[in-house]
Symmetry: D3
Subunit: 300 residues, 6 copies
C-alpha cells in the first residue's frame, strides 16, 4: 500500500515564475525518460517478480520515483503559478495575454490554454505520456538491463535541464534528482550481476555458427575496426558470405495446400501486371494532354 507524507523528499525553492521553463521541465514529468516512466517501469516489474530481494528493491525504487514525480511536478506547478491566474482572471487585455502565451518560444501556449498552466503528463512538446515508453518484458536479466539504461538516460536529461536552467533553486532540486538516478543505476547494476550467469539472457543457447560473427554490412570510406568486431568476432566483409548464411538459396518458401494454391493463382491472375504494356496513365493525362491522343512514352 502507498501512503503519502506531505513533506517532499527534497525542498523546492523557485525564484520566480516562468512558464517557458515550466514547459521544459515537463520533459522529466511526462516525458519518455521522466519520473512517471521510471516509477511505472519498476512498479510493473515488482508486481510479477518472484525473487524476494529484487521485488523489495523494485518497490523501494518505484516508490522513490513517485516521490520524484512529486518534486518535479511541484517545480512545474510553481513555475506556472503566475500564468495560472492570468488567463483565468483575464486581468490583462487580450493582445497582451496573446503575446504572453505565444511569445515564450516553446510549447507553453498549449500548457497554458489547454491545461490551465497546470502539470500535464506530457513531454515538453505536448505529447501525452504513453506506456509505450515502458520496456518491461518480465525477464529479470533483461528488465534490469533496461533499468540500468533508463537511469543513465534520465541522468543525462536532468543534466541538460540543469545546464539550461538559470534558476538556482530549480537547479538545486534537479541536481538531487539527477544524483538519485546515479545511485539507482548502481543498485540495478548490483542486482543484475547478483544473478549468475546473466549472459546471454534467457535459456535457449545461441546457434554457435552465428554467435561470434560480425557482418561488415556498411562498407566504404569510414570502415573501422574496434573491440566490437576484433578479438572474439569473425569479421565478414565478403558480400557473398553475408547473404544466405545458412547455406541455402536465400529464398523464402512455403508449402501451400492445393486449394490455397488454386485460390492464390486466381488472385495473382486477376491482378497481374502486363510487363510489356506501356499504358497511358493518370500522370500522362495530368500533364495536360487531353482528349483522344495517346501520351504514352512522353517522359516528363
Amino acid at each position: 500500500m502507498f501512503v503519502h507524507n506531505k513533506r517532499l523528499q527534497y525542498t523546492v525553492r523557485v525564484s520566480e515564475t516562468n512558464p517557458g521553463l515550466a514547459n521544459l521541465m515537463l520533459e522529466q514529468f511526462g516525458g519518455p525518460q521522466g519520473e512517471l516512466a521510471a516509477a511505472m517501469r519498476y512498479f510493473t516489474q515488482a508486481l510479477s517478480e518472484d525473487d524476494p530481494g529484487r521485488k523489495d528493491m523494485l518497490l523501494d525504487i518505484a516508490t522513490e520515483e513517485l516521490s520524484h514525480l512529486e518534486i518535479i511536478g511541484n517545480i512545474v506547478a510553481l513555475l506556472n503559478k503566475g500564468a495560472k491566474g492570468r488567463l483565468a482572471e483575464a486581468v490583462e487585455e487580450e493582445a497582451e495575454i496573446y503575446r504572453g502565451i505565444s511569445g515564450g518560444g516553446n510549447d507553453s501556449h498549449t500548457t497554458q490554454v489547454l491545461y490551465g498552466a497546470g502539470t500535464p503528463l506530457t513531454n515538453s512538446a505536448g505529447v501525452p505520456w504513453t506506456a509505450a515508453y515502458i520496456d518491461t518484458i518480465g525477464d529479470p536479466t533483461c528488465d534490469l538491463r533496461s533499468n540500468i539504461a533508463a537511469e543513465a538516460r534520465a541522468k543525462i536529461i536532468y543534466e541538460r535541464l540543469i545546464n539550461a536552467t538559470p534558476d538556482p533553486g530549480v537547479r538545486d532540486a534537479l541536481t538531487f534528482l539527477m544524483t538519485r538516478e546515479v545511485a539507482h543505476q548502481r543498485s540495478f547494476e548490483k542486482a543484475l550481476y547478483a544473478i549468475s550467469p546473466n549472459f546471454p539472457p534467457g535459456k535457449l543457447p545461441p546457434d554457435p555458427r552465428f554467435a561470434d560473427t560480425y557482418f561488415n554490412m556498411s562498407q566504404g570510406e569510414g570502415d573501422k575496426r574496434g573491440p566490437w568486431n576484433n578479438d572474439g568476432f569473425e569479421y565478414i566483409s565478403d558480400r557473398d558470405r553475408q547473404s544466405a548464411v545458412d547455406g541455402g538459396d536465400g529464398g523464402a518458401s512455403v508449402q501451400l495446400r492445393k486449394d490455397e494454391l488454386a485460390t492464390l493463382d486466381k488472385l495473382i491472375h486477376r491482378t497481374q501486371s502486363d510487363p510489356n504494356s506501356n499504358p497511358v496513365t493518370g500522370a500522362d493525362i495530368g500533364r495536360g494532354v487531353t482528349g483522344g491522343k495517346s501520351v504514352a512514352g512522353r517522359p516528363s
Copy 2:
C-alpha cells in the same frame, strides 16, 4: 546509401500456412522489441555519431537489422499466404470465412480484414508501431546501454516465439535471428567499455550527499538486503530521514510578483471551497431524494 540484394540473409522455409502464427510473429516485425525498432534505434544513433568507430558499428548493425526485418517479414507473409487469397477471392461461403478469421484465437482477424493478410507494422495485438519505442537520446554511454538492454529483450522475445512455434522451418530462422541479438549485444558491450570512464554517464558529478544512499521506501514483511543496498550504500529506513533530505522543510515555494499574487488571490477567492458547509450534492439528488429535503449526512 542502402542497396538491396534479393537473397535473404537467411533462407526461410515455412511448412504450412497459419495466420494465427503469422499474427504472433508480428511481435518482432512491428512490435516494440522488433526489428524495425532495432534498425531505427541504431540508425538514428549513427546519423549523429561523431566517433568514427561507433558510427561504423552502428551502421553495420542497423543495416543487418533491416535485413532481419526482411526475414521476419517474409515469415509473416508466407504464413499468411493462404489467408491472403481466401478473402480476396471469396472462394468459400461467408459463414466459413467468418469462422476462419474469428476462430484463430488471436488478433489475426484484424490482420486479415484490414491488412489483407499482409505484413502490417503492428505488434501481435494490432497496435501500430510508434517511434515512442525508440530511446535514442544522443549520448553514447546512454545509447549503448539502451542498445545492450534492447538486444537482451529482443533475444527473449525470440526465445518465447521459438517456444511457441511448432513449425521447424520457422524455428530455424527464428533461432538465427535470436543468435544475432546475442552477438550484437556483445558488440555494444565492447563499444560501451571502450569509452573510459563511462560511469556515471555525462559530465555533471552527482551530489556526494545523496550518491551512496539507499532509501528503504517500501517497508514491511518482505524487506530484504542484498548487494544493491549493502556495501557502498547507506541504508536509510527511518521515515524522518527519508523526507526533506536537504534539511529544509520539505515545502515547495515560489517568489510571486505583486501582480501575480493579486491575480492568484482573485482566482483562489473565486473558487474557494467552504470547509464548513455540508452541501446538497448531485449524488444526494441522484439517490432519489426530491424536492426540498436536505439529504446531507445520509450515507449510501
Copy 3:
C-alpha cells in the same frame, strides 16, 4: 512524499491461474477507466491546486488509487503466475504452448509473448495506456465534475468485471475496489458543491441570447420532448431559425491584405478546376479503355 507499506490495502486471494481472466483485468490496470488513470488524474490536479482543503483531498484519493493500482496489479500477476513459467522454461512442446496462448479467446497471447505474462500498462486489447485519458484542465469546478464522471465510469467497469469473473476471491477484491469508487464519487460531489456558485463554470457569462435555447437539430420520427428541452429552454425546430442565429448571413469572411489577396489569387488560379470540362480520368483508363478513345460519359 510517497512511502510504501508491504501489506496491501485489501487481501487478494486467487483460486487458480487464468491468463484469459488476467487479460480482462488489465482493463482496470492500464485501461482508460483504470486505476493509473484515476491516480494520475487526481495527482496532477493536486499539484496545481491552491485551495488547501481540495489539495489535501486530492492527495488522499490519488494515494489511495495508487494502492488500488497495486491491488489490481497483484490480481493480474497472480492470474498469470502459471503462464509466466511455461513460456520461459518451455516445459511443454511447442504445439501445446501455441494452443495455450492462442486459444484463450482474447488478447492474452500478447500479454504472454510480449510481456512475459506480467502486468503491462495496457487495456484488455493491448493498447498502451496514454495520458490522453486524463482530462485535468486546471479549473476546479471542471476537474471535480470530471472526477465525478470518472468515478462513475470506473464503478461500472468493475461491475462488468465482477459479472464476468467466476473466481470468488477476485470478485471479493473487485467489490472492494468498486465500492471505493462510490465513496470517492461522493467526496468529489461534496467538494464540487462546497464551491458556490459552481455553475456555470469559469468567469465569463454566457451570452443570454443563446443560453436557454435548445436546437432540435435531429428531426423525424422519434422526436421527443423531456426536461432537457422543456421548461427553461426555448425549443427551436424551424430550420431557418437554426442557422445564422446571430442575424448575419451565415458566411465566413476575413479581411485580407492586398499582398495576401494577390498571392491567394495566384494559388486559386493555378489550381482552379474547369467546371465545364469532362476530362478523361484515371478511372476511365482503369476501366479498360485504352489508347486514344475518350471514355467520358460512360458510367461504370
Copy 4:
C-alpha cells in the same frame, strides 16, 4: 441521415489573418476538449441508446456540435488564409518565409509546412486527435456525467481562448460557442436527473463496510477536513486501519497446480539473485577500473 446547409450556424467575421492565432484555435477543433470530441462523444452514445428521449437529445446535440466544428474550422481556415498562399506560391524569399513560419512563437510552423496552413485535426501542439479522448462506456448515468463534465471543460477552454484573442469577430463567435456549452450542460444535467435513482451508477450495491469510509492517506502539515470527509464519512487516519482493511493479512496469494509450481520453481531458481554476493558490475568497470582488480565496495 446528416444533411448540410451552406449557411453557418453563426456568422464568422475575422479581422485579419494570423497563423499564430489560428494555431491556438486548433485547441477546440482537434483538441481533447474540442468540437470533434464533443460530436463523437454524443454520437456514439446516441447509436446504442434505447431510451427514446435521450437518444433524440443526443442526436440533437451531436449534430449541433458538428455545426460548431464547422464554425471553429472556418475560423482556423480564415486566420490561415494569408499563410496558405505564401508557402505555395513562394512570393517572398526563403529567409523571410523561414522567419515567418518559425517566428510565430507557437506550433504554427507545423501547421503551415505539414498541413499547408489548413485545418488539421490536431490540438495546438500538433498532437493528432485520438478517440482515446472519448469516454463513452455505454451506461447512461455514467455517460451523462461524462457529458456534463465535458461541457464544463469545453466552456473553460473557450473562455481562455476568448481571453487570449484580440480579434473582436473571433471573440464574438467564440462567445456563441462557449454559451452553447453552458446550455448543453444544462440539458445533460436534466437528462441525468430524469433517471431516478441515478446514484450509485449501475446495479451492484457497494459493500457497506467500505462505502462511507474516507482514508486519510496523505498526512502531515496541510491535513484538512471538509464536507468531503466530514458528516457521512468515517475518517480513518490510523495507518494500521488503512491496510488490509478486510481483516486479512494484506497478502496476495494464488493456488498453483503442481505442474505450475514446478515450472515456476525452475524459473525462480534459474534467475535467482545471490543476496550475499558483492559482484563486480558494469558500473564498476565503467568507473575506470581495468583488468583484474575488484572494485566492489567503492562507492562513486
Copy 5:
C-alpha cells in the same frame, strides 16, 4: 451547418445479434479506412478550399460519409444489442458470461467490457481512431489523389467484410456503402483531372537530371523490367552510378563556427572510444567469470 434527419440513408436489417461480427464491423466505423476517416478527410479539405466547385463537392461527400458512419454505427449497435444487456443485468452466472465474452475469437471482449457493447471509435483490434489516419495536406492535386486512393481502399475493406459476413441484411447495407465508395472515387477522379495540368503536383519543377531515372536498387534473381522502368526511364543498375549521383563525393559536411568546433571537439574527446582496447565488459562478467580474471576473447 449540419442538420439531422432521423431516417437513415439506407435501411438496416440485422438478422440476429453477434458481438463477434459487430467487432469486425468496427473496422469501417473507427478504423483507418472507415467512415469517420473519410468524413474528416473531406471536411478538413473543404474548410480551406477556395475553388467553389471543389469546396461544394467536398462538403457534399463529407456529409454523405457522416451518414454512412451512422449506417455502419447502427449495424454495430444492433449486432451488439444482445451483449449490451447481458453484462449490465448479469442474468447469467459469471462463468457463462466469461465464456461468452472471451470465446468470440476476436476482440469483442474489449468492446463488451470497456464500451458496454456499444460503438467505440476503434478498429477491430480495439485501437482508438487517430487523426494520423488523415492525410490532408492542403494542396488540391495531392488531396484529390489521396481521396481517390482512400475510396479505393475503403471499397476493398467493405468487400472483405461482405465476404466474411453471413448476415444477409448486413451484407445488403454493406453493399450499398461499398458502392458509394466507387461513385465517390469517380467524382474525385473527375475533380482531379478538371485541374489542368495536375502533374507534377505543385509549382517547383523537378530537376531534369533525375526526373526520368529509375534506380535498380534491389538486385538479384527476380529483377524484372516493366512499364514502370522501361520507356521514358533511364534504368541504372551500376552501383557506382547509384551513389553520389550529383557527382560529389557522397559525403555530408557542414561549416562549423570556431566556437562550435571547439565545443564539439570537447564532446568528441570526452566520449571517444579506444579502438585498440579489448575491455572487460558487463557481458563478460555476466557469463560467470568473477573476480580478477580477464575474460576478453572468450566468445560465448
Copy 6:
C-alpha cells in the same frame, strides 16, 4: 538483404548550423509524408506481393527511400551539429543556453533537450512517427493508388521546405529528393495501369442502383455543378430521395431472441428517463440555490 555503402546517394553540403531549420526538416524524416513512411509503405507491400514485376519495383523504390531517409537524416544531424555540443558541454552560462533553445520559435527545444540535438523519428512538432501513417492494405490497385498519392504529397512537403530554406546546400539536396518523388509517382502510375482493368478495385461489382448517383448533400448558396456530378452522374437534390434510398423505412432493426429481449427490457426499464419530470439538477444547486428550495425552471 540490405547492404550499406558509406557514400550517400546525394552529397550534402550545409552552410551553417541552425537547430530551428533542423527541426523543420524533421517533417520529412519522421513525419507522416516523410521518408520512413515511404520506405515502410513500399517495403510492407513488397513482402506480400506475388506479382514478380511489382515486387521488384517495390523493393527498388523502398530501398531508395531508405537512402533518402539517410540523406534527410544527415541534413538534420548537420544542422544540429552546433547545438549538440553546447548542452552536453555547457560552455555557456545557463541563461544563455535557455534563450538559445527556447528562442528558436519552433519545437527545437524538445529536439535539443530530449534527443540531444540528434535525429529523432518525429515530425516537426515532436510527434513520434507511427505506423498509422502507412495505408498498405494488401490489394495492388489500392496500394498503388495510395503510393501515387503519397508521392504527390511528399513532393509538396519538399516544395514547402525548399521555399522556407535559406541554405543553398540544403535546398540543392531537397530538390533532388523532391525530384525523385516525381519519378516514383510516374513509376507507380505505370504499374497501376499495367493492371487491366484496375477500376473499380477488387472483385465485387457495385450495386448499379447507386453507382452513378451524386447526392447533393450540402445545399445553399455555393452549390456548383462540375464534371464530378455532371455527365455520368444522376444529381439528386431532393432531400426525400436522399434518405432511405433502398425504398425501406430508413429504420434500423434486429431480430432479438426472447431472452435477449427480456434482458434488454430490464436494462431499459432500470435506466429509463422520465420525460415528464422537471428534476432539480446539480447545475441548479450549483447556481447557488441552497437548502430545500426547488430551483427547477429557473433558466440561467
